[in-house]
Symmetry: C2
Subunit: 280 residues, 2 copies
Amino acid sequence: MDGETRTRKAAARKPAARKPAAGKPTAGRTASQRIRTPEAVAPDVPVCTTGERLDVLGSAPFFSRLSPPELEQVNALFGQASYAAGQAIHSAGEPARQLSIVAAGKVRVAHPTAGGQDARLAILGPGEPFGSLPELGDATYRDAAYAHTGCCVLSISAESFHDLLQRYPALAMAALERTAARLRIAQQTLEQISAVPADRRIAATLLALAELAGRAEGGATVIDAELSRKDLAAMTGASVETVSRVLAEFRRDGLIDSGRRWISVRDPVRLSRLAHGTHA
Amino acid sequence: MDGETRTRKAAARKPAARKPAAGKPTAGRTASQRIRTPEAVAPDVPVCTTGERLDVLGSAPFFSRLSPPELEQVNALFGQASYAAGQAIHSAGEPARQLSIVAAGKVRVAHPTAGGQDARLAILGPGEPFGSLPELGDATYRDAAYAHTGCCVLSISAESFHDLLQRYPALAMAALERTAARLRIAQQTLEQISAVPADRRIAATLLALAELAGRAEGGATVIDAELSRKDLAAMTGASVETVSRVLAEFRRDGLIDSGRRWISVRDPVRLSRLAHGTHA
DNA sequence: CGCACTTTTGATTGCTCTCAAGGGTAGTGG
DNA sequence: CCACTACCCTTGAGAGCAATCAAAAGTGCG
């Protein structure tokens, strides 16, 4: 059975191994070693026009209810910064000075643990906020944020955001609802983790990622975020080895296809059944 | 070793077995079978005076910043109900009509799971809100609430509370901060559950309970909430048997003392070291 | 080519759940 | 008052999942 597996993998993975990366060959982790300042980079680092900024802010969960003129006022309070893939945006423990919103690219948010490994990792796309929101009462960032791909980030100081909340009650309500929604999700996840086995958690995470960062590619959905097994392990609370084993099993069953730093979902329906435990 | 343990337990637990319950002999679970209507009960079910109501509301996290006249206005919007120990306040899945605040006694909040057992159990004391807050966008209660002891509960309709939020920005900010704080706690718990072994989780829970519902008793702190092993198991995400084994171990090490439906913390310092993993 | 990193696979170990059985305790009803 | 019953607590044995340790193969880069 081992030999058969190996030949299947060799046949299935070798030819496809380049395709997912072909769409956008990002610089990878080592970019930060070659490129120091954001300004020095042209190709990989997106920069936002004013129109794009307004689009992004309007699609962010907080500001969706504001009128266009209000949105312009809000926009004026936001600063902008671009980062190359791998660059740190902020570290855990730093004074939490600002709330940020992803404008373009992808941001990786991780929580450092005592063990040295990062836990509770999340990948954020355009329109999604990160930074000091859950820490509104807190003085320091709880999580670290890195540019997962080249990205552009809009930021507002904690004070300005605080002022905005008091000026626009609708904004405060939106923030409250969003935080409540995150709380719900956290509590659901909490249920999951304590009872759901690793393969289900991984299946659920893959589906969520396909939703967030999926790109149609033939009959499958390629997850367009260069995720290593280690990243996936941190996201699901499993070890690297377990992730590798589970992915190998999913591959054998035809649920997914995967290789070095890429995964594509072949059968979302069965994967979803597995994730929810309704597959008998 | 087994024989020694048994004699130790017999010596240590028998004499103390009555003391924790002596302070307030609650009617227990079967009270709801004897007593149907709250009005029919005098001794076990607390009723609030107006002065007590204002105190409770003022100490609740939302209203602490309101002025006394504002507090009176808010107070007028709250209804009041008393429950005997064991009575249901609301069930999960019901339409979420109101936000409630514990005025006196203790309320048990539980989340029913598919397995039939309750998970993520919490015990709330006076001033603590429960009900539809995390479900502000939701139509139904996510959790079930029971009277854990005889208790008095203040309630406000979801609509009235919504109106209050928009009328008093400070209230909205307070609600936001509280929800953010709960989110932080949920995320911390999330970290715990995925990596921390059962004995540490149980130790941490015991310390939290001692903080919330502790009563000094000689050199130790008796946890003044009639918790069964099953309750503790639901709170920590462990099985009843594991809780029993861990408590037996704690007992052997002199960290706690425990018996039928009561636990007292003997050595909070060592327990805390154990909970945080800094005991090498 | 050599180095660093990622991925895979096997073997072992430990923790916790489940199943099973027994003893203790409090309320019930005769 | 006493047996009865239901529930709570404890303990043991066994099984399973996943972490850890260990080793090897594949991949990209200088």
